[in-house]
């Protein structure tokens, strides 16, 4: 089966279900026309079918649903109120859609049924109610009985007999009954059926061959399988001791079957994300053709397995996000070229397991979100008040796009922009306990990150022992294992600033002793071997020292209850083959602990460079609201907080009154951004430098901290007053080019320095 067929089939299955729901919703809506939720749900369903049919190139389907959607849109906006005629019209549309879907399923094509009547009715209804009754949508299919009589294969009485049989409860088709009565040959029935129309009802439809199973049922099955496995273990171990060959063979069979059953039930729940992603390239391509753009799509991690429920839940949101990225994110080729970007846009989709969750990212290098537009739109639509807007940060503004009814699209295109959008995306993600985060930079692009807990996911994990207990480490965090023999262990682990490190090839690896972290006693015999599990989380590497390393196995991640959630070192729990509960370590949280402890070097390379482990003190400051800037403390004379009134203007320059003198100063935000920083009239945080008789002050927004940090490397190309970019306490921090900053304050500060400085 090719990809295309698969996409169409999924669409059919999904749409059939939606249509059944739609019938119920429409009827219920008639009872309670004011239910906006219901109206919204109907609207979204039709919107989805319309959208997908557009991509799959089913123009008739698209046309029919488009008029329906327009009518629903007016209803939703309160411009029209629902009448019986409208309900009839909408139900006729649902029937027309169902007919088209059946035809597509049977033949792959839309067939040539005529839907102009439905379209006409719906179009008319959009302009307001009218007394005319809705026309019937389609000519009914000829009845099989009529056909049989017409062609003389059966008499009218035969057919009536069969219909009566059906009426008193015979579930079979008329043809089958007549075959049994000896009136017809089986072949004749098939012939009649093929005459009846495009649709051959006897053929098993996709709808019937795939089955939706309640996830709760799968949960129950999973639990039962777990119990079966435990019982099996018990039986197998009992029988093994008895020497009864017959029982032994039976128990071995039981063993194998239970294992397969377990695998099967697990597999029933898991699917690669590719299920959703395989249709993305085509969607992107189609939109590109539609809106005349070119986009290069990168997909990474399509084998990442997700629980079925999660796959289903993220399908629509992901499709929507990609659509948005192409339609709104990526600019037209001309605009891109003018902005100095390649004409071809780039969209990347990535999925990965990461510290107990699945992270999905959708990145584009498009225009980014225009916050000014977002603000205006939110105001115009009355979603926020001007008062609320005033207190909002850029991140808050970005999040406005998640409000219901928000859409910045300037025109309603066929692709997107009807205001069903990010709110639905967010609702769907949150429904499965996930989170969505948008980061955007004007002109640079947008990154959307979705984090989904893998409560139900199955992941490979390594079992380790520490302090007498077993813990699971997600394989995704695992880089390598190191085994140290007794005497080796004593020498290979060194301490730097009381933090243990291990030299792994060229790098110094910070270590965490798991039993220490958990407050347990190590069970490692004196002089016994020691294991270092080399882990990675959030680009940080560290070694976890454990007593023993066991096997790797697939584990089912179970969520922790609230009594234990607060501990913070565990990502979940799982049940091992022997029935024991085993805690899963949260590697990300452990890594954070390393960073807090100050032992973790930013990267293994940086550690290698500073093998001598020289450190220097850095003053961590804040500028421009959120930029962290480090200033080497070594040459600093004093740190001062001066009142705003100490600031003096001397011509175009700002000077400081400091200890009875006027000293030159520079605002660090001006130095590193090359522009002017924000003003304000609060106290000034000043870093004072003195050299002989000369004194200058550098003004920062705020002084945060002083840290000891391994000596950093100057970046080869320094620019804009920044000497290097390093990571301090897991935050990106720039190091100020002090010399340039001082020169900015006092160009002659270093004059006559040649003799003094080496």
């Amino acid at each position: 089966m090719n990809d295309m067929d698969e996409i169409v089939q999924e669409f059919l299955v999904e749409s059939y279900e939606n249509l059944d729901q739609l019938d119920r919703d429409l009827v219920a809506l008639e009872q309670d026309p004011s239910s906006r939720d219901r109206l919204g749900s109907i609207f979204r369903t039709i919107h989805t079918i319309k959208g997908t049919s557009g991509f799959l190139a089913f123009p008739k389907l698209e046309r029919v649903t488009h008029v329906g959607e327009s009518l629903l849109s007016r209803l939703r906006d309160g411009k029209l109120s629902l009448t019986a005629e409208m309900t009839t019209g909408l139900l006729a549309m649902v029937d027309a859609v169902r007919g088209l879907l059946a035809c597509i399923e049977a033949t792959g094509l839309e067939g040539d049924a005529d839907h102009t009547a439905v379209i006409a009715v719906l179009t008319r209804l959009q302009d307001g109610p009218s007394p005319a009754a809705a026309a019937p949508a389609e000519e009914p299919r000829p009845m099989i009985g009529d056909l049989l009589v017409q062609t003389g294969k059966a008499t009218e009485e035969d057919v009536h007999f069969a219909i009566r049989e059906q009426e008193i409860g015979d579930p079979r088709h008329i043809g089958e009954i007549l075959v049994e009565q000896g009136v017809l040959e089986p072949g004749e029935v098939a012939e009649m059926l093929s005459q009846q129309g495009d649709v051959i009802p006897q053929q098993r439809s996709i709808y019937e061959s795939t089955l939706r199973v309640d996830v709760a049922l799968l949960d129950d099955l999973m639990n039962l399988v777990g119990e079966l496995v435990l019982t099996r273990n018990e039986i197998v171990s009992t029988i093994a001791g008895q020497g009864n060959q017959v029982l032994l063979r039976a128990s071995q069979r039981l063993n194998g079957i239970a294992t397969e059953l377990q695998a099967g039930v697990m597999a029933a729940r898991m699917q690669p994300i590719n299920m959703v992603w395989q249709k993305i390239p085509r969607i992107v391509r189609d939109i590109c053709v539609n809106v005349d753009k070119t986009v290069h799509l990168d997909i990474e991690g399509q084998d990442t397995e997700l629980d079925k429920t999660i796959i289903e839940a993220i399908n629509a949101p992901l499709t929507h996000l990609v659509r948005n990225a192409v339609d709104h994110g990526i600019e037209d080729a001309k605009v891109r070229l003018a902005a100095g970007k390649p004409a071809e846009g780039r969209i990347a989709m990535r999925a990965r397991h990461e510290s107990g969750a699945v992270t999905i990212e959708i990145l584009d290098d498009g225009a980014g979100i225009n916050l000014t537009k977002v603000r205006d739109k939110a105001l115009q639509k009355g979603l926020v008040t001007p008062q609320q807007l005033r207190g909002m940060s850029d991140a808050d503004l970005t999040n406005l796009i998640f409000l219901p009814g928000f859409s910045t699209a300037e025109r309603v295109t066929n692709v997107s922009g009807r205001g069903v959008g990010m709110d639905v995306v967010r609702t769907n993600i949150e429904k499965i306990g996930g989170a969505i985060d948008v980061q955007s930079a004007m002109g640079v692009g947008t990154t959307i990150r979705i984090k989904i807990p893998l409560t139900l996911a199955i992941i490979p994990a390594l079992s380790v022992r520490s302090g007498g207990e077993r813990y699971a480490v997600p394989q995704v965090n695992l880089l390598e294992l190191v085994r140290l023999e007794g005497d080796e262990a004593a020498t290979a682990i060194q301490t730097i600033h009381s933090a243990p490190v291990f030299r792994l090839r060229d790098a110094l690896l910070p270590l965490i002793y798991l039993h220490d972290r958990l407050g347990l006693e190590s069970q490692r015999p004196d002089g016994g071997a020691l294991f270092i599990v080399v882990l990675q989380a959030d680009d940080r590497e560290f070694g976890l020292v454990v007593d023993d390393v066991e096997d790797t196995q697939e584990i089912v991640v179970k969520a922790l209850q609230k009594q234990i959630k607060g501990v913070g070192v565990f990502a979940g729990a799982t049940i091992h083959g022997d029935g024991r509960v085993c805690l899963i370590l949260d590697v990300g949280a452990l890594a954070e602990r390393v960073a807090e402890g100050g032992a973790l070097r930013d990267t293994a390379e940086a550690v290698a460079e500073t093998a001598a482990v020289e450190t220097e003190s850095l003053l961590i400051t804040l500028i421009g609201g959120e930029r962290r800037l480090a200033i080497p403390l070594e040459s600093v004379t004093r740190l001062e907080e001066l009142p705003f009134s100490a600031l003096e203007r001397v011509g175009p320059r700002e000077m400081l009154q400091y200890r009875g003198a006027i000293i030159p100063m520079a605002r660090v935000s001006d130095v590193v951004t090359g522009g002017s920083g924000p003003g304000g009239d609060g106290p000034l945080s000043v870093v004072v430098y003195r050299r002989g008789e000369r004194t200058v002050g550098l003004v920062v927004d705020e002084i945060l901290d002083v840290v000891d940090q391994p000596v950093y490397e100057r970046d080869e190309a320094t620019h804009d007053g920044v000497d290097a970019t390093i990571v301090v306490a897991s935050r990106i921090t720039e190091v100020l080019d002090v010399r340039e900053a001082i020169l900015r304050a006092d160009p002659s500060f270093f004059d006559d320095a040649v003799t003094a400085e080496a």
Partner: protein
């Protein structure tokens, strides 16, 4: 005519405790347990209840009673909560009893320690008093209510679930 309430009972350090029978999923003999380092002290560990991972709360610790000996294996009273099943570790499982609601008394004043918050009240069973536990409070091991509760016992209880129970102390004391 007096009504009765049905309790599943168990013993702890010589006293008889009970939880509403409809909150109890099952009672089990001692189960192997996985300790959880760094968890609140009353969390004894995690048990596998037919494929479901559930927290086990040592009721002796929870009620600040003297601890069991090493060899005294506790039994499990598995209760249903909003957050799934939670297992209460108790000394011994008792019978299911029908307690006469007219004998119910709020007992905060007679209790000390954590029991002030966790025991909703007592029923007089004739030969013994039944201490009725508030399940939701009991499983909420992260709450700070047990700290410094000495001077507000009476007022908290009347706003709690006790007030809606049949047979309040007023009727029983006449």
């Amino acid at each position: 005519m007096s009504t009765t309430s049905r309790y599943s009972t168990f013993s702890l350090a010589g006293d008889l405790y009970g939880v509403e029978v409809e909150r109890v999923q099952e009672v089990l003999k001692h189960q192997p347990m996985t300790p959880v380092p760094l968890a609140p002290p009353s969390v004894a560990g995690l048990v596998n209840l037919r494929g479901q991972v559930s927290a086990a709360i040592d009721m002796r610790r929870r009620l600040d009673l003297p601890l069991r000996g090493e060899d005294d294996l506790p039994m499990n009273v598995v209760v249903r909560t909003d957050d799934g099943l939670v297992s209460l570790l108790v000394d011994r499982i008792g019978d299911v009893v029908d307690a006469d609601d007219s004998t119910f008394e709020q007992a905060q004043d007679a209790m000390t320690g954590p029991a002030r918050q966790l025991v909703r009240g007592t029923y007089d069973l004739g030969e013994k008093l039944l201490l009725a536990l508030d399940v939701d409070q009991t499983v909420d091991v992260n709450s700070r209510q047990n700290v410094g509760a000495g001077d507000r016992g009476g007022s908290t209880s009347t706003t709690g679930r006790g007030g809606t129970r049949p047979g309040t102390p007023d009727t029983s004391r006449t």
